[in-house]
C-alpha cells in the first residue's frame, strides 16, 4: 500500500465492558485498486487500533466469516473493494443479530436454525458395500444452486422478517433444508416439512427477495423459500386428505 491515496471509513465500535451503546468512529486508510474492505480492517488492526474486533479467515469468499454491513448493505468484506466507494463508507456489524463487540455478532440463532432443519441425508439405508450412490446430472441440477451456501449470514441481515421476528428460521437454514429435500439420495423431506410448515418456518417469509440479491454465492434463498411454501402446501393438502381417509376408515370399522 505504497500509494498515497487515503479514504475515510466510519467503523462501528462497541466494547461491551466500557460502552453502553455502539458508536461510529472515523479512520483513514491508505488504498489502491486491490484493497478490499477486509484488507482495510486488517490494516487498521495492525497499525491504528489493535483492539478492533472482526471475524475473517480465508480472504477469498469461501469461509463466510467476514460478513459486515457496508453503507447499509450486507457484504463480505473480502469480496468488496474499497475502490467502489470513492467517497468513503460506513462499516457496521451485520444487522438483525446482537452485537458482541465491534464488528462481531452473535450468530447463535442462525446456527440453531440450521441444526433444526437437519441439513444432512436422512433415511438412506445404503451401506458402503452397495457402492457409490450415483446421481444423474439432472438430479444434481435440481438442488445444485441451493448447495452453494457458505453460511455467511448475509441473507439474515438482508431479511426484514428475521429482523421483525428472530424466531423465523430464516433464508439460509431453510435453503439448506430444501437442498436436502431435493436430493434424490435423501428420504427426510416429510420430517423437515414438519419444521418448515409452521408459523416461524416458511410462512414467516413474505418474498422480499433481498436475501437472493445479497447472497455472495447466488444460492437464491428466496427461490428455495417459495419452493418450500409450495411443498408445504402440497403436504398440508395431502395430510388433510389422509385425515379424511383415516376418519372414513375408522368410521367404517365402527359400523
Amino acid at each position: 500500500m505504497a500509494d498515497e491515496k487515503k479514504l475515510l471509513l466510519k467503523i462501528q465500535r462497541y466494547n461491551p465492558e466500557r460502552d453502553s451503546a455502539p458508536y461510529l468512529a472515523p479512520y483513514e486508510i491508505p488504498w489502491d485498486d486491490q484493497t478490499s474492505f477486509l484488507d482495510a480492517l486488517q490494516y487498521l488492526k495492525d497499525n491504528v487500533c489493535p483492539d478492533l474486533s472482526f471475524r475473517s479467515s480465508c480472504r477469498m469468499a469461501i469461509c463466510g466469516s467476514c460478513g459486515v454491513m457496508i453503507d447499509g448493505a450486507p457484504k463480505l468484506a473480502c469480496k468488496t473493494f474499497v475502490r467502489n466507494y470513492p467517497d468513503g463508507a460506513t462499516v457496521e456489524p451485520l444487522v438483525n443479530f446482537p452485537v458482541e463487540r465491534d464488528l462481531v455478532v452473535d450468530l447463535t440463532h442462525f446456527l440453531e436454525y440450521i441444526e433444526a432443519l437437519k441439513p444432512y441425508v436422512i433415511g438412506n439405508a445404503r451401506k458402503p458395500a452397495d457402492g457409490p450412490n450415483t446421481q444423474t446430472p439432472a438430479q444434481l441440477a435440481r438442488y445444485h444452486k441451493f448447495s452453494m451456501c457458505i453460511n455467511c449470514g448475509l441473507c439474515y441481515a438482508a431479511c426484514p422478517q428475521f429482523g421483525l421476528n428472530p424466531a423465523f428460521l430464516g433464508p439460509a437454514a431453510i435453503t439448506l433444508g430444501h437442498r436436502y429435500n431435493l436430493d434424490s439420495r435423501d428420504h427426510g423431506k416429510n420430517e423437515r416439512l414438519q419444521t418448515m410448515n409452521t408459523e416461524n418456518g416458511v410462512w414467516s417469509c413474505t418474498f422480499v427477495g433481498y436475501c437472493s440479491e445479497v447472497c455472495p454465492k447466488h444460492a437464491d434463498p428466496a427461490a428455495a423459500l417459495q419452493q418450500c411454501k409450495a411443498d408445504s402446501a402440497l403436504s398440508f393438502a395431502a395430510s388433510v386428505l389422509n385425515c379424511k381417509k383415516n376418519k372414513e376408515v375408522s368410521h367404517g370399522n365402527k359400523t
Binding site: 440453531e112 433444526a116 426484514p160 421483525l164 428460521l169 419444521t195 416461524n200 418456518g201 408445504s232 402446501a233
Partner: protein, 116 residues
C-alpha cells in the same frame, strides 16, 4: 436449542388463495380495470354498449366477475395482513380480521351473481 417442531399452521390454505388471486389478478386485472373502471362511462352505459359489458348480464359473466372479486380480495387482504405485520401495526387479531373481510366479500360476491 430452540424447539422448532411447533404446530402445523393452516397458512397453506390462505397462501393457496393468495396465489390463485395473485395469478388471476396478474392476468385479468389490468384489462378489467381499464374496461370496467376507466372506459365504462364512455362505452358501457349507452344503448349499444360493447359486447364485453353485456357479458356481465349472463350467468357465466357474473360467475367470472364474482370469482375475480373474491380471489383478488383474498390476495389483497392476505398481503395487507402481512404488510401490517411489516409496519408493526395492529398486532392482535390482524390476520383474523383480514381473512374474515375476505370471506365476507366472497359471500357477497356469491349473492351478487344472482342479484340482477
Amino acid at each position: 436449542m430452540s424447539n422448532h417442531t411447533g404446530k402445523q399452521t393452516k397458512e397453506p390454505v390462505f397462501w393457496g388463495l393468495f396465489g390463485a388471486g395473485g395469478m388471476f389478478g396478474a392476468v385479468c386485472a389490468p384489462a378489467l380495470i381499464l374496461s370496467l373502471l376507466l372506459l365504462y362511462p364512455y362505452f358501457g352505459e349507452c344503448e349499444e354498449a360493447g359486447l364485453f359489458y353485456q357479458f356481465f348480464k349472463t350467468g357465466v359473466g357474473r360467475l367470472f366477475l364474482a370469482l375475480f372479486i373474491s380471489l383478488t380480495a383474498w390476495c389483497g387482504l392476505h398481503r395487507i395482513a402481512h404488510c401490517l405485520h411489516d409496519l408493526k401495526m395492529w398486532t392482535a387479531g390482524r390476520a383474523r380480521l383480514c381473512y374474515a373481510s375476505a370471506a365476507l366479500i366472497t359471500l357477497f360476491s356469491i349473492i351478487g351473481i344472482f342479484r340482477y
